[in-house]
């Protein structure tokens, strides 16, 4: 049944819409990407670009107002959207781990940390209470929490923010997932704790060999840990490629602008920080033109009438843009 040649995760044409009182919002528009086993993909983009919604759509963890309206999600070749409820729960429980942005609110305040880990182990690994407890302590140790046996009986409010995020990671890793989806896991933490968490994930990845999707708006983090980068803008992928190649020759004007917004400490310091002029479009309708065109210095007339498809630029790197940064001309596609 399991297709061994298929990538770990294969997403094609995924579309998610939010139904709100003031009309529909097209948050995710025809997203396609693949993730190989053991690969770490960084997903970057500004707030509202649809990064989180895309990843929540994969396992159908969307809020009630959101609906997946199209596309296909294959996990090891199995169609996730066509799964029965039980199969989906099994997939979420055993094969995929999630770490969310805010460790202060992501744990249930009224249950002990131990219970929140063992609950998953007992349901999906068929462990007894005692076995699950041993494994839970092992997991807390793995994520670097000292005195894990004793801390199992502590409540989330007795942990600091960074420690809670470690607990979240322990929960995510409980059943040896093949895929870890980390939704801005370090955004709510201060910088030193951030570095510790990144170091921890990098280390665990080596040990456990799982595919990781790391959502962030911090390009520095991506440069440090990712194999591949996906850049999202207005609910679509505008550029993706291997991390070195993408940083060395960014193709999309948005990616280039994002890289320029990073403050530099070497060389001449400019007076002001770089910003990208303008606002992202509102997504009341599915875009029929390039969503970045109104903010783009290189926009052609064609960009206003047609939404660019993704063009392969070699080396596993592709971009959804007509403009060729090397010639300054329109691509011949």
């Amino acid at each position: 049944m399991r297709d061994t040649t298929a990538p770990l995760l294969d997403v094609a044409g995924l579309k998610t819409v939010f139904h709100t009182r003031s009309g529909d919002v097209h948050a995710v528009n025809s997203i396609s990407f693949a993730l190989e086993a053991g690969e770490l993909v960084g997903v970057v983009g500004e707030s509202g670009s649809g990064k989180s919604v895309t990843m929540m759509s994969l396992m159908d963890l969307l809020p009630r107002s959101a609906e997946i309206v199209g596309g296909e999600v294959l996990f090891e070749g199995r169609d996730v959207r066509g799964m029965t409820r039980a199969e989906l729960l099994q997939l979420r429980g055993r094969d995929v781990g999630f770490v969310f942005q805010d460790p202060m609110t992501s744990l249930n305040p009224v249950f002990t940390v131990g219970r929140q880990i063992t609950e998953r182990l007992r349901k999906h690994m068929g462990m007894t209470k005692a076995e699950a407890k041993v494994r839970a302590a092992e997991l807390l140790g793995l994520v670097g929490i000292s005195d894990p046996e004793r801390r199992l009986s502590d409540y989330p409010h007795q942990f600091s923010g960074g420690m809670r995020q470690r607990v979240m990671i322990a929960i995510a890793l409980a059943c040896d997932p093949k895929l870890l989806i980390a939704d801005e896991p370090t955004t709510a933490l201060d910088v030193t704790i951030q570095a510790q968490i990144i170091e921890l994930v990098r280390d665990l990845r080596r040990k456990l060999d799982m595919g990781i999707i790391w959502i962030t708006h911090d390009l520095g983090v991506v440069a440090g840990i990712a194999d591949r980068v996906i850049v999202m803008y207005a609910g679509q992928i505008v550029e993706q490629g291997p991390v070195r190649d993408l940083f060395a020759r960014p193709q999309h004007p948005y990616t280039r602008a994002l890289l320029e917004t990073l403050p530099k400490v070497t060389g001449e310091r400019s007076e002001r920080l770089h910003t990208i002029e303008g606002q992202p479009p509102s997504l009341g309708d599915e875009p029929t033109s390039c969503p970045f065109a109104p903010r783009c210095a290189h926009a052609f007339a064609r960009c206003m009438t047609e939404n660019p498809f993704r063009v392969d630029v070699g080396g596993g790197h592709d971009v959804a843009c007509w403009w060729d940064p090397e010639t300054g001309e329109m691509r011949d596609v």
Binding site: R92, T105, L107, H157
Partner: protein, 336 residues
């Protein structure tokens, strides 16, 4: 937690003393006359003798001190003697006595208590059993037809007073359908299956009237609290762990949502005695509420004082119980 409870119990003593003084003083200021219901043919000097035999010619502070002594020392000692069979001292002490019936007030209350506890206690349990599932489903399926109907019915239950629903119930179920008796028979003895069925039948209407009023209110609290919690991040975490919706809602969300609702339930218990006054009148349940009404009408001040004070004790007690429950349910709150 234990130290907290003890401290709160100690704090309750001055509070209750202050309440007892206020109750005593206000009732003493009332212009009612315990001899007012006696025939007009009784000569004034006999009336004065009756009044002095009730202790009414003593000054206010002395009467208050005597009442305190009777209520806080004599009555508890008497109760201990009753339970254990011991005799403390000479066993002879003044008790708080009803002016109307000349029997000790505490005995009257003990006599009336079972009826009230049956009806009121049952109605509370039924109210919780109705309200919690309705609140949970309403919130989980917000704006569904179930939620809409639930909202409408609880608005009705909220806004229609029990004396109206009580009468509607009597007209409908007793007069027209003849399913249940309209008058509660306090002397009914349960000694067989059929008499047990009769007891259930006579309890249904007063219990349901009270239960519906309470359930209407509770289900709203439950719904609001569930809605708050369903949006929390930890719910998404629970789902991401591959837990079924049933486990997510009935274990993770419900436990959190119960925290404020349990407080409301606990604080509701003493006020339901107030609501029961009217319901007991309608269905002729010889409970505490009815005793209070009789006491007020007959200017039976010791009876009214004692009952009012017992209500005050209940309120203080259940406030404490609510706080303790809060600490048990929510680990973030620990009283030191």
């Amino acid at each position: 937690m234990f130290a907290f409870t003890i401290r709160r119990l100690l704090f309750a003593i001055p509070t209750l003393l202050a309440i007892s003084f206020i109750i005593f003083a206000i009732l003493d200021l009332a212009p009612s006359d315990p001899t007012g219901n006696l025939p007009l043919t009784i000569p004034p000097e006999v009336r004065a003798q009756i009044r002095s035999s009730l202790g009414l010619d003593e000054p206010f502070p002395i009467r208050y001190a005597l009442w305190l002594n009777q209520f806080f020392i004599n009555e508890p000692l008497n109760m201990i003697e009753g339970w254990t069979g011991w005799t403390i001292g000479d066993g002879e002490r003044l008790r708080v006595t009803s002016w109307a019936t000349r029997s000790p007030v505490v005995d009257l209350i003990v006599e009336r208590m079972p009826q009230t506890l049956w009806v009121v206690g049952m109605s509370q349990i039924i109210a919780i059993l109705i309200a919690v599932p309705i609140g949970v489903i309403s919130a989980y399926k917000q704006y569904s037809w179930f939620d809409q109907i639930g909202t409408f019915v609880s608005m009705l239950g909220f806004s229609i007073p029990t004396f109206f629903t009580g009468l509607v119930f009597i007209v409908l179920f007793s007069v027209h359908l003849k399913w249940f008796p309209s008058i509660y028979d306090t002397n009914h003895v349960i000694d067989s299956w059929s008499s047990f069925v009769f007891q259930i039948k006579q309890m249904i209407m007063p219990t349901m009237v009270l239960a519906l009023a309470t359930a209407a209110q509770l289900s709203r609290y439950m719904r609001a609290s569930m809605l708050d919690n369903l949006q929390q991040d930890y719910v998404r975490t629970a789902r991401a762990k591959g837990l079924s919706e049933r486990v997510v809602v009935t274990i993770h969300v419900l436990r959190n949502s119960m925290i404020p609702v349990v407080t409301v339930i606990a604080l509701n218990v003493p006020t339901i005695f107030g609501g029961a006054i009217i319901t007991e009148q309608i269905f002729r349940v010889n409970g505490i509420g009815q005793l209070l009404i009789i006491g007020i009408q007959g200017a039976d001040i010791p009876l009214v004082q004692t009952l009012t004070f017992i209500f005050a004790v209940l309120i203080v007690m259940f406030n404490l119980i609510a706080d303790v429950l809060y600490g048990i349910l929510d680990p973030r709150i620990r009283y030191e």
